[in-house]
Symmetry: C2
Subunit: 410 residues, 2 copies
């Protein structure tokens, strides 16, 4: 089947979830969750086949790998979605115009959502769950490296939905694993939105090729700015936490920007604490004058999301220079200032052009669960439609319903 046909099937069956009541969608989520646990051995066998052919390094292998407890956690995630309020159908606003038309703006599902992602089979189930609850048909185009795992997960969920009396064909997995197939997917008219989840190169290739509206997610070249009035007792744990608590994720810090006045007495200690956690520290010339054993940073380092135990250091003089530097190098994800000066903090909040701007907290909090929004589809780093953690509401659009009595325009 061509990718275009696959997408068309999802769209043609979108009604099966778009117009479902909340209780029905919750029953679907429950069926799906139970199916994953019940089909554990089948899913693990498929995952085993994927792992046998996988040759791309341990970290990526770990993301591909499933086991009983991971499947249970994925199923639990689906069940938890039941408790989140369904945003579809909400009246956002209503008014009557001068011409007597009643205009109502109501929240509706996007329609058909395409997800393109890497070898992480948990994304398959998460995306299905979020799309069920937000009333969207979903077309999944995972990495070929995880194809057998994805196929087993999708088959188990669709079988269970059908057994529970639902039409499951609003869920489709793309069978074509070629590059041309990916390109066809990105240009498929049946998709209302395309969400790439994964590396910077996947996102770049999506932006290059897509004609479908895209939500850019997840690239995080996040900065921590230690202002001259920073409290060292907050600064040190925030830097260490943001860099080392989970270095492979998008909200980890990649760059430390430091006022010279704070760096002179304090940078050595901060670098020592990072080194103790195994972090490689590279920096600009001024940082190396203060702390000579910092290795020189290349220009490229300041634009790189390391996703590893490595950090770049840039010395600045004051908030003006720090803000300009951060806005020039950040990917618009999450940036933090550490300062006790309230006026400078407010200036940073106002002028930093990122989805999430922090004062005196670690960037690691940028996350749907931490924000109290529940499960998320990703962290948007664009400004169109949604910014920051994207939950159920961000998977919806709206339309205008206009009720008249025969009005025509004069």
């Amino acid at each position: 089947m061509t990718v275009t046909e696959t997408c068309r099937i999802a769209k043609a069956n979108a009604y099966a979830v778009a117009f479902s009541a909340e209780a029905e969608k919750n029953r679907m989520l429950e069926s799906a969750a139970e199916a994953l646990v019940a089909s554990e051995s089948e899913i693990l066998a498929a995952n085993e086949a994927d792992l046998k052919n996988f040759k791309r390094g341990e970290q990526l292998r770990d993301r591909l790998m499933l086991n009983a407890s991971r499947i249970a956690a994925i199923a639990e995630g689906l069940k938890q979605l039941r408790a989140l309020p369904c945003p579809v159908g909400e009246t956002i606003e209503r008014h009557t115009t001068a011409s007597g038309l009643e205009i109502e703006r109501v929240r509706v599902p996007f329609g058909t959502v395409g997800i393109i992602y890497e070898a992480r089979p948990n994304v398959t189930a998460d995306a299905i769950g979020l799309c069920i609850k937000s009333g969207n048909a979903v077309v999944l185009r995972g990495s070929g490296d995880a194809y057998e795992s994805n196929l087993a997960i999708v088959a188990a969920i669709k079988r269970a939905l059908r057994a529970s009396g639902f039409n499951p064909e609003f869920i489709q997995l793309v069978g074509d694993r070629s590059r041309e197939g990916a390109r066809e997917f990105m240009r498929c008219q049946s998709l209302d939105v395309l969400i790439p989840r994964g590396s910077a190169s996947l996102i770049q290739s999506t932006l290059e090729n897509a004609t479908v509206p895209v939500i850019e997610t997840g690239t995080g070249n996040c900065h921590i700015y230690l202002e001259k009035n920073a409290d060292f007792d907050k600064a040190l744990p925030i830097v260490v936490n943001a860099k080392t608590q989970r270095p492979s994720v998008c909200n980890a810090a990649e760059s430390l920007v430091c006022d010279e006045a704070f760096a002179k007495p304090r940078l050595l200690e901060i670098v020592a604490a990072l080194r103790e956690k195994g972090v490689e520290v590279v920096g600009d010339e001024r940082s190396r004058e203060i702390c000579p054993d910092i290795a020189p940073a290349s220009e490229e380092d300041f634009d790189t999301e390391f996703l590893a135990l490595k950090i770049s250091v840039k010395i600045v003089n004051g908030a003006e220079e720090a803000i300009a530097f951060i806005n020039a190098h950040s990917t618009g994800h999450s940036e933090a200032i550490v300062t006790e000066d309230r006026a400078v903090a407010e200036k940073f909040l106002r002028e930093i052009d990122s989805a999430c701007v922090y004062v005196n907290a670690s960037t690691r909090f940028t996350d749907g669960f931490e924000f109290g929004f529940g499960a998320e589809m990703g962290i948007s780093t664009q400004k169109l439609h949604a910014r920051g953690p994207m939950g159920l509401r961000e998977l919806t659009s709206y339309k205008f319903l206009i009720r008249g009595k025969g009005q025509i325009r004069e």
Copy 2:
């Protein structure tokens, strides 16, 4: 200057409008409006030069042409923007998380908005006005055919802003009028959003080439569905109004979908009324059985936005068939049902997948002013970000401000 450099200048000066108070932005609008009137002779001379070289038909020539009263109307439009509430800075929601972080979601300008459009110099001033009020830098890439007019308008406005003590460099006009320049514009990293305004082919080329997030606007293959329980006294004026009141605009009807039970007694009269207004009527076989002098419609006709005195007719049996037909052929702009059956009306409202869905009213009302929203940048036909008329609020994004006390993630 390259297009990329032009966009960079706009972005570098975005602060000059992004952080301005509402009163300052209103003063900018006033200066801009006065400048247009004061520079009337200079603008008209530039327009004359454009018109002299213009060789693309009377209707497009009329859109390019300026005169004193049109300039006065454009200036008046800028002045009216002062009265619209500025959405920037609004707190959309705020809460405190379990970890004690105070999270505030605030409305912010997009940053730098790119507009690509055809030979309509009024769009130049309108876009500048909407971007001033919404706090956005703006880069204008109009048609080469209107370049002298655009240059004169932009120069007059920037001169006036500078004279009033403002930095006007957040407004930039692209000088490069080549196709390669347009492509460079669509891929320019300094733009946060790109809005194409114009023909279907301009929009298609933007979708093909852009890597910047795009808001698709304006293509309207709009349908009127006459259900079997339609009131003829509403149906006839709605069809005639939607088709003929201003056939060249996006919210004009292009296709009449008619239940057979209504068509048999009534279609002849409706077609006669359309013909009286000079409308060419083409239809499917069933319509030609009922009304033999309707010309045969090609498959393509049902997917064509005529923007002219031409309409296609399709006969269906019931709402199910009508809704499926409309969803398959519409561009997602505006569709109307005429019926006295409330249940069918609600089904149509729910199931039609368009920005604006009408019951017993003409599609011609899809317009920011008619909806009571004031001036608009366009009518979005995509589902991402904004749908339907896009006013000031739709030219903004939001960001999360997070205030902590040293929190780190455990």
